[in-house]
């Protein structure tokens, strides 16, 4: 009974942290976000930000106990009380109502996926190799020894530690594992259910902002992706988590492109840099995201956007914990893949072609994992490209494409180093980019008013433009 109470309390605290985080946005910015997107991002950021806030003292050498989450709850409550007027805006209804073609059917599918994830996470423990062997080990050590500075994690001579890996996700799962050490592997999945529910809410919210047809395409490609529902325990828990954060950051970038409010930029940057704290693939994603921000800034209202960019640059500080961790710990053995990747001596064009072939077969021939998402995305790009603003479109593609290129590069290098069966991990790495890629494919930026006017003027014999009409 006590453990049930504690488990529910931790979940509530994580939600509170999420609400407190999102309430830091300006009320007007909050109101412009779709309501479901607000709710979804509160869930996702609640888990991720509470994990990050736990990571900071853990990195400084503190021993983590359950009372730490009590402190987080007090802090979150304090912020919530201070920002209570902003929180009222969390529940403001959206301006317009959007009906999706095939909507009820799509919501049935989303419901089935959420039911499966809930059932799976509570009834079945982790099923995949890395989760069982490496990440579970780290979580188990943290739950027993309560510190990142345990020899089991830091001693470079030990077999498993791999201390250069980022520790955000274990920190999100840690309180649950500490409550019931006998059922730690199962309880640690609770935050995954929360972030998945948050992700589905965000997909529907983002879909509403895209309109009925392209919104339905987004739900079909990003929401109904079976691999994201089944992948959490069957494939890996890190990659879906990365995918959810990536989706949030790219959607917020698109919102910022449409409407330059600093709140979008801050939340998007936070999501992108939290990815970098979760897995190494987060680094190219965050790099691509920054490139996307620059592309948007150059093309539209550059003065305002660059001023916001400078103000938000402080969020790059989020990358510090991992950077500090890497610089302070001597790795016991250097993975040959990483060594060769760093000097890029094994990079061959033929290996890139091999990876492109594997990627194509992997995505188009896995109905049970990717469904028809690849074809949906293709249709999205094809039918959306006629919309003019190519720079914005490229900007939202930048982050997932950078991450995809990095993944391809990793596999291209390892073709000569590791046996063929190691290519199977391509499936789980793709989960990092698929949701963001689906949004980028469905997103069709409307032609700017000025451009429409110019086009009309040219068509009618170069009459002077009067955009005020």
């Amino acid at each position: 009974m006590t453990s049930l109470l504690l488990t529910s309390s931790i979940a509530v605290i994580q939600v509170l942290v999420g609400i407190a985080t999102i309430s830091l946005l300006q009320p007007s910015t909050l109101r412009t976000l779709p309501r479901l997107f607000r709710a979804g991002s509160a869930l996702l950021l609640g888990v991720a930000v509470s994990g990050f806030l736990t990571l900071l003292p853990a990195m400084a050498g503190a021993t983590i106990h359950l009372w730490w989450w009590g402190t987080l709850a007090v802090g979150a409550l304090f912020v919530t009380v201070i920002r209570r007027t902003a929180i009222r805006n969390l529940f403001t209804p959206d301006a317009g109502r959007v009906c999706f073609p095939g909507g009820p059917l799509a919501f049935l599918g989303l419901g089935v996926l959420l039911a499966w994830v809930t059932l799976d996470c509570f009834a079945l423990p982790v099923h995949e190799y890395d989760g069982l062997v490496i990440w579970s080990y780290r979580l188990r050590v943290l739950a027993h020894e309560h510190t990142l500075f345990a020899d089991s994690l830091r001693d470079p001579e030990r077999v498993i530690p791999q201390p250069v890996h980022p520790y955000l996700l274990p920190m999100c799962q840690l309180p649950y594992a500490m409550i019931r050490p006998d059922a730690w592997l199962r309880l640690a999945q609770i935050p995954m259910v929360m972030v998945y529910a948050g992700y589905l809410l965000m997909v529907v919210g983002a879909a509403k902002s895209l309109g009925s047809t392209r919104g339905a395409l987004l739900i079909c490609c990003a929401g109904l992706l079976p691999c994201l529902g089944f992948g959490i325990t069957e494939i890996s828990s890190r990659e879906p988590f990365m995918g959810f954060l990536g989706f949030a950051s790219v959607v917020l970038l698109a919102f910022w492109a449409e409407n330059p409010r600093p709140g979008y930029l801050i939340l998007g940057a936070a999501a992108a840099f939290l990815m970098q704290q979760t897995k190494i693939e987060g680094l190219p994603f965050a790099g691509g995201w920054c490139m996307g921000v620059l592309l948007v800034s150059v093309g539209d209202n550059p003065r305002v956007r660059f001023r916001q960019l400078v103000a938000c640059a402080v969020f790059v500080l989020l990358t510090l914990p991992w950077a500090m961790m890497k610089s302070h710990i001597h790795a016991g053995h250097v993975d040959p893949v990483l060594r060769d990747y760093s000097v890029a001596t094994k990079f061959r064009v033929s290996d890139v072609l091999t990876i492109v072939r594997l990627l194509a077969v992997e995505v188009t021939c896995r109905p049970e994992l990717y469904g028809l998402a690849a074809f949906g995305m293709f249709a999205g790009v094809l039918t959306g490209w006629k919309r003019r603003n190519a720079l914005r479109r490229l900007a939202v593609f930048a982050a997932p494409l950078a991450c995809l290129c990095a993944i391809c590069a990793i596999y291209a290098v390892r073709q000569t180093e590791l046996p063929q069966e190691r290519n199977a991990s391509l499936t789980r790495r793709l989960l990092c980019v698929l949701p963001a890629m689906a949004f980028a494919a469905a997103y069709a930026p409307a032609t700017r008013r000025l451009e429409i006017q110019e086009t009309l003027n040219r068509a009618e014999g170069d009459l002077p433009a009067d955009i005020s009409n």
Binding site: P101, E128, V159, I160, E362, E421, A424
Partner: protein
């Protein structure tokens, strides 16, 4: 200024029709092709790891291709319907063509989701011999890595839980599951460079500093003598 050829409504509509039809048709052809054994074998030759990898085998067992094929057949029938002008006009009055494509895509996707959901219920019940809520951690570990799980439990039963090992095998690859399952036992990835370990000063220093008790050679896929233990004190 003359309007572009592409701006003609008829041509635009045709382009849109072709663009909307490409994905379901390509999808249908791909999935039908998978059903032909020769083509399927050819595709698997492109991704040879898939048949060898245990996780991939599990995922293949979950693939509800038959149901997906049915849904794609549905797409074909509806697409065929769209080709008949009178039927198409009636359907288009109700909804735009792009919306129809999305309804079909969504239908297929939802069917795949539900099919995988149902398939997994049966898969786990079949694999573990218990309903899904009654499967415990140990059952899963035993199922995923039966030998290593058994060996880790043997080690934990044989020796105190704080024992330290110098760990490895002649193969250079590190086998992680044993140290993970046998936590809190301590495994150090270091082997002596000489047959007599005392003659390797670096190794002897590690043994002394970390209080390593055994040299453990592990052969996970051997049926006999998988754990070769050698005391170092």
């Amino acid at each position: 200024m003359q309007k572009s050829e592409l701006d003609r409504p008829g041509l635009k509509r045709s382009c849109f029709l072709v663009a909307s039809l490409v994905p379901p048709i390509v999808g249908l052809v791909s999935y039908l092709a998978i059903r032909i054994p020769g083509v399927r074998a050819g595709i698997l030759r492109l991704v040879p790891y898939r048949e060898q990898h245990s996780a991939a085998v599990i995922q293949q067992m979950m693939a509800p291709r038959a149901i997906l094929l049915a849904s794609l057949t549905l797409i074909l029938i509806l697409t065929g319907t769209m080709m008949v002008p009178r039927w198409r006009t009636r359907m288009l009055r109700a909804r735009a063509l792009g919306d129809w494509s999305l309804v079909l895509l969504t239908t297929a996707q939802v069917l795949a989701v539900i099919a995988v959901f149902l398939d997994l219920q049966f898969y786990y019940a079949r694999a573990f011999g218990k309903p899904i809520g009654l499967i415990d951690n140990d059952s899963v570990l035993r199922y995923v890595m039966p030998q290593t799980w058994k060996h880790s439990q043997q080690l934990l039963a044989m020796l105190p839980s704080d024992t330290s090992f110098a760990y490895g095998s002649e193969r250079k690859e590190i086998f992680y599951p044993l140290p993970s399952f046998a936590y809190p036992m301590k495994f150090y990835f270091r082997r002596p460079g000489t047959p007599d370990w005392t003659q390797d000063p670096a190794f002897a220093a590690l043994v002394r500093e970390r209080r390593i008790s055994y040299l453990l050679d592990y052969y996970p896929f051997q049926t006999t003598e998988s754990l070769a233990l050698r005391p170092l004190r």
